[in-house]
């Protein structure tokens, strides 16, 4: 095909140029670019430098090279051309086919396509990054939680011990501040752990049968007292048509309502707070309950209402009002987990209303009476009871010893690991073992297993054991009970709680 034929074939603007092997332009129709005969094609555009390499390797036969979609420009015009080069013994024929229009259209399509791919990759990258960060954060929180709880146990415990010593008025005040701040820190940690658990799907909702009316009475009791102290009113209404016993997650329901009530009290200085609990609907064994908590407090600005369930949002800059800023975020997460609904309406300076709908189930058969928290007392057969504390952390050891010794009914020995604990048990009779779970060498579970299984002597194999851990998880609890422990207590603990559990186990054992 000659170049003229090619020119006919494509109804495009074409330019034909002939150059010598040294690059000098021999002739050109200057159809597109106004090149001049006698000038060098190498100066026309750097593309043409390629000619050099073709001339270098030229042998005998005319060779054709074609280059699609080349951007050519000079001072005046810019074109996108397909270029054909024919190299022969005497000269080089250059054919330019101007496809600018076609290529510009293609360009638009390619731009859109590539751009959307790049954008989605960018998003993917961002999401991946965020996910990884989230994952890291959650595991970080559960780990750091453990590390913080142990020293916090000591702080809280020692403050309690300190409070019982002779203190000046000022010292008493300072001790109270330390305690309040530590308790605040503790609740902050608990909130963070809850959030991390919710996010990583670790919170399991349980369906347990519980005395609903008791839960409500509990709120009534606690908050009536608080209202009295604050000089405000607290009113409750509980729909008498609601079943006494319901099936649901008592702990989470408590957490949700307690959080909202707490908030209401925090932000209300005068007027009234009310809790009204009504039945929404009931179908076969399911029912939905509406909890309405209304206050006449500070209220929330409309623009803040939208983000109220987000983390670390606090609209009150009042330093007197303490809070972690996580409470409502947890509430929302928990309500979602329970498949409920939560709504909030508010008028600044008038008050706030939370409407929470939660689903429950109930047993259609008649309800059985509920077990009350029983009172236990130490058997009178002995004056003092011997307790073995297995704990490797000095500050916790010391704290437990102080608590037990100041109670007056206990002798205490301390072992620092499972191995040592077992050898103590072999030497002496103990009434109870307080066993830390995270120990070096033989850990708490293993030690319990050994105690329960390796001894014919019932004094050893049936000694009551209470597990002691910084991890407050369901799994941990199960693990303790499965390994043969009788009970379980979480650090930081309330002194009363510890004593209650110890007394309970000793009393139970004595009653056998």
């Amino acid at each position: 095909m000659t170049y003229q034929e090619e020119r006919l074939l494509f109804n495009q603007k074409t330019q034909c140029t002939v150059v010598h092997h040294d690059g000098k332009i021999k002739e050109t129709d200057a159809n597109i670019f106004k090149w001049k005969v006698g000038t060098s094609i190498y100066d026309a555009h750097p593309f043409f430098e390629i000619l050099n390499s073709f001339i270098e390797i030229f042998e005998k036969e005319e060779t054709t090279y074609s280059f699609p979609c080349i951007h050519l420009e000079d001072e005046k015009i810019e074109k996108i051309c397909d270029i054909t080069l024919k190299v022969n013994a005497q000269e080089v024929i250059i054919l330019l086919f101007d496809y600018s229009t076609k290529y510009h259209e293609l360009n638009k399509i390619a731009q859109q396509k590539n751009e959307s791919i790049l954008k989605s990759k960018e998003l993917e990258l961002k999401n991946q990054y965020l996910l990884e960060k989230e994952k890291f954060k959650n595991s970080f929180i559960s780990n750091i939680n453990h590390e913080i709880r142990t020293p916090l146990t000591s702080i809280l415990g020692f403050v309690e011990v300190l409070e019982k010593t002779k203190l000046s008025f000022e010292q008493e005040e300072l001790a109270r501040i330390i305690k309040r701040q530590s308790l605040h820190l503790n609740s902050l940690i608990e909130d963070m752990v809850d959030i991390a658990k919710i996010e990583s799907g670790k919170i399991k909702i349980v369906d347990e049968r519980f005395l609903f009316i008791n839960l409500m009475e509990g709120f009534k009791e606690t908050y009536s007292k608080l209202a009295e102290d604050k000089g405000i009113q607290f009113e409750t209404y509980i729909d008498p048509n609601i079943q006494e016993y319901l099936i649901g997650d008592r702990t989470r329901v408590f957490q949700i309502l307690n959080n909202i009530l707490n908030n209401a009290f925090k932000f209300t200085e005068e007027g009234k707070i009310s809790l009204s609990v009504t039945k929404n609907y009931q179908r076969t064994n399911k029912l939905s309950i509406n909890f309405k908590i209304e206050d006449t407090g500070l209220g929330i600005q409309a623009e803040n209402l939208e983000n109220i369930f987000e983390r670390f949002t606090r609209f009150n800059e009042d330093k007197q009002v303490s809070g972690t800023g996580l409470g409502l975020a947890i509430v929302k997460d928990l309500v979602d987990l329970l498949r409920g609904e939560i709504k909030v309406t508010s008028q600044p300076d008038q008050g706030t209303t939370f409407d929470i709908k939660l689903p429950f189930k109930f047993e259609i058969t008649k309800s059985a009476p509920e077990k009350k928290k029983k009172k236990y007392s130490l058997p009178e057969s002995k004056k003092k009871f011997r307790i073995l504390v297995v704990e490797d952390e000095e500050s916790t050891q010391f704290l437990i010893m102080k608590v037990l010794i100041s109670h007056g009914s206990f002798f205490v020995d301390v072992a620092i690991n499972g191995e040592e604990a077992v050898s103590y048990l072999e030497r002496r009779n103990y009434d109870l073992v307080l066993m830390d779970l995270k120990l070096s060498k033989v850990d708490g579970y293993q030690a319990t297993h050994i105690i329960r299984n390796n001894y014919g002597d019932k004094v050893i194999s049936e000694v009551p054991i209470i597990g002691f851990t910084a991890k407050a998880t369901e799994a941990e609890r199960d693990k303790c009970l499965r390994s043969g422990m009788d009970d379980f207590i979480t650090k930081p603990f309330e002194q009363e709680d510890l004593i209650y559990k110890i007394v309970k186990q000793i009393a139970k054992k004595a009653a056998l």
């Binding site: 555009h45 750097p46 593309f47 430098e49 390629i50 050099n52 390499s53 073709f54 090279y65 074609s66 280059f67 699609p68 979609c69 080349i70 951007h71 996108i80 290529y103 293609l106 360009n107 390619a110 731009q111 590539n114 751009e115 791919i117 790049l118 990759k121 990258l125």
Partner: protein
Amino acid sequence: MKLSKKVVLLGHFGVGKTSLFRRFVDNEFSEDYKVTLGVQIKKKVIEMPDGRELSMIIWDTEGHTEIEDTRKSYLLGSNAFIYVFDLTRIDTYKDLNKDLAYLAKNHPKVTIKVIGNKLDLVNEKETLSKFKEQNIVVDCLTSAKTNKNVQDFFLDLANEITA
């Protein structure tokens, strides 16, 4: 005789070929992405340490996901290929070794360099150790955005292909 060498930028779209090209030739950078269709060619005259002048003819190609899709004629008469990938997008370098083998096989005389670009978006140390683990050999990590290593890379390349 005038010293002139052809260098071709290769690699997936969006990795920063055009940005490196513009950064080196005109010392410009833009955040906006503009697709490259076909080839753009620019010349940069480099003064060599020995006093010679080199015309580096740089071909900035549109870039394909599959190296085999690159127009064969674009690669003709080349002195060097610069294979650019995006340090933040694994799919722009997961076939790197395969692509390099393809280029080396079909163009045995051409110098081949590998650039990991967008260095400003990643941690250099982590990236290098990751590449070591995955057996990925990179000649240079650059950022067209911050101009990090761009000039040095091209100047080193100029020395290498004129030696």
